[in-house]
């Protein structure tokens, strides 16, 4: 089998959401001494990009998206230690702190965005739901995050997205992080209004936006 064929199978495993196949192909690639950056960029990432397209076209829905993200995570779990050893953190997108804002316990959308970001090569620190605004900043400072992602389902709790940006300003940290907002009531207009760096309509769009913001698009 040629490398091109193997890459195509990796991509297909992600599109099919086949976790075992994705993991097995990654192990084979590792054993065969493949260039792991090529494996990620030509094998797996095109798969998750295809999944994103299928989602945007209304062909794939949440179950398919979750399965594909899980398959991607399984493959990356195999490849990451080796990638890190060879100092190829470059294929990784950077660090993201994500959570659902204070007062809001809804985490379905946030979990999905966290999964897709991870599948897209970001290192994700998921703080969970009902997260105190100060904790987002503390965690971002601690891990050296590039992005802070804030989810809110309620029109009332989305006000906390604005509050976080105010807090960052007060601490003189506003320019240090890109802040993304999301959740059912969030809109592009809302993101602009509160001075966020971006808004995405869904988990797939969120990954694209995150990549653009860290200069990987």
């Amino acid at each position: 089998m040629t490398k091109t064929e193997i890459y195509a199978r990796m991509s297909a495993a992600i599109v099919a959401g086949d976790r075992d196949e994705a993991r097995r192909l990654a192990e084979d690639a590792l054993r065969s001494g493949f260039d792991l950056i090529d494996v990620v960029e030509q094998g797996y990432l095109p798969g998750i990009q295809k999944v994103g397209e299928l989602w945007e076209q209304g062909e794939y829905f949440l179950p398919e998206l979750i399965s594909s993200a899980e398959a991607m995570k399984a493959a990356m779990a195999v490849l990451e230690p080796a990638l890190n050893r060879q100092g190829s953190g470059a294929v990784m997108g950077g660090k993201v702190v994500i959570g659902t804002v204070e007062g809001d316990i809804h985490d379905i959308g946030k979990n999905l965005v966290a999964s897709m970001l991870q599948a897209g090569g970001f290192e994700v620190f998921d703080l969970g739901a009902d997260v105190k605004m100060e904790r987002f900043i503390d965690k971002a400072e601690e891990v050296g995050a590039a992005l802070i992602c804030l989810s809110a389902l309620l029109t009332t709790t989305m006000m906390n997205q604005r509050r976080l940006i105010g807090l960052l300003r007060d601490k003189g940290l506003r320019d240090k992080y890109k802040v993304l907002v999301g959740g059912a009531p969030a809109t592009r207009k809302w993101a602009e209004e509160i001075g966020a760096d971006g808004y995405a309509e869904n988990a797939v769009a969120a990954v694209k936006l995150a990549k653009a913001l860290v200069g990987r698009a």
């Binding site: 316990i105 009902d130 309620l154 989305m158 809109t187 209004e193």
Partner: protein, 297 residues
């Protein structure tokens, strides 16, 4: 025995109520406090919202119990109080209901995905919905309304839970997004198949709520109509929330805009109509006027 809600729907379009959570917040419900707690802590506020909707023309109101499954309440450490909070929710709506009006026991999603996407099993969900339904039945609801469901498997588990607890009619609404190929839940359940499956599971009325505006809702009801013999329910959002120049929030669809598509929803085949996020007693009053004109025409 008095006429049932389903009997009424055979004679004319039946009007549900509008949003509850935002009405309670306008009365001081704080961030992060589950609205259902007010069924015991601020019962007069909850009763007042129901009374406002009845006064606006609602034939039936939904109880303040949307998030009161034990699974959902567990996030607030209140799982053990599910029966009590649901019974109180039903009693408050019952107390506010004038003679001949109706009470629907609201049952929202648990917020947990079923396996393999999430940790929940069908048995977990059935048990949780059954516990909620027991409380609602004890408090005196006329029907159950399982609402805003996005996973057909969870909706079916809710129907089974409700039917295990009581023989009262079970209404079900799911929430759909509009795509070029039709109307689908986030899990990919197409609207026509969803209503057909719910009918098979023993639902008494089925439909759509939340997410869609009234203009989009008409199309969704039209897509469902051929797929089931049951009466259809339509409860649209007042558009998407947006920021006002003063920094507050409002929903994009004005009352006039919201009501404009109501006749089309009725013509598309909805027997029950009502509001969802962003609607208030004023929206319901305007809908009541529109529906009455429709009936006369």
């Amino acid at each position: 025995m008095r006429a049932s809600l389903l009997d009424l729907a055979r004679t004319r379009t039946v009007l549900f109520d509008g949003a509850m959570g935002t009405e309670l917040m306008a009365r001081g419900l704080g961030l992060g406090v589950p609205p259902e707690l007010w069924n015991v802590e601020r019962p007069e506020a909850v009763r007042e919202v129901h009374a406002a909707y009845f006064a606006a023309g609602s034939d039936v109101v939904s109880t303040n119990s949307f998030g009161a499954t034990p699974i959902k309440l567990a996030a607030h450490g209140l799982a053990a109080r599910a029966f009590e909070l649901n019974r109180a929710a039903a009693r408050l709506a019952r107390e506010a209901a004038p003679a001949g009006r109706f009470v629907a026991g609201s049952m929202g999603p648990t917020g947990k995905f079923l396996k393999p996407q999430g940790p929940a099993t069908e048995e977990d969900l059935i048990a949780s919905f059954a516990e909620q339904a027991r409380g609602l039945a004890e408090g005196g609801v006329d029907v159950f309304i399982i609402e805003t469901q996005y996973d057909l498997r969870e909706a079916l588990a809710a129907v089974r839970g409700a039917r295990a607890a009581s023989d009262r009619p079970v209404f079900v609404t799911m929430t759909f997004n509009a795509f070029p190929r039709g109307y689908f839940t986030i899990m990919g359940n197409p609207a026509p198949r969803a209503v057909a499956e719910l009918e098979k599971a023993g639902a008494a009325a089925v439909g759509a709520n939340c997410t869609l505006t009234t203009a989009e809702m008409a199309g969704c009801i039209r897509a469902m109509r051929p797929a089931t013999a049951l009466p259809l329910i339509a409860q649209a959002n007042a558009g998407q929330p947006e920021v006002t120049p003063e920094g507050g929030l409002r929903y994009a669809q004005s009352i006039e805009d919201y009501v404009r598509s109501v006749p089309e929803i009725v013509q598309a085949g909805a027997a029950f109509i009502g509001g969802c996020c962003g609607t208030t007693p004023d929206y319901i009053r305007a809908m009541a006027r529109t529906i009455r004109q429709e009936v006369k025409a």
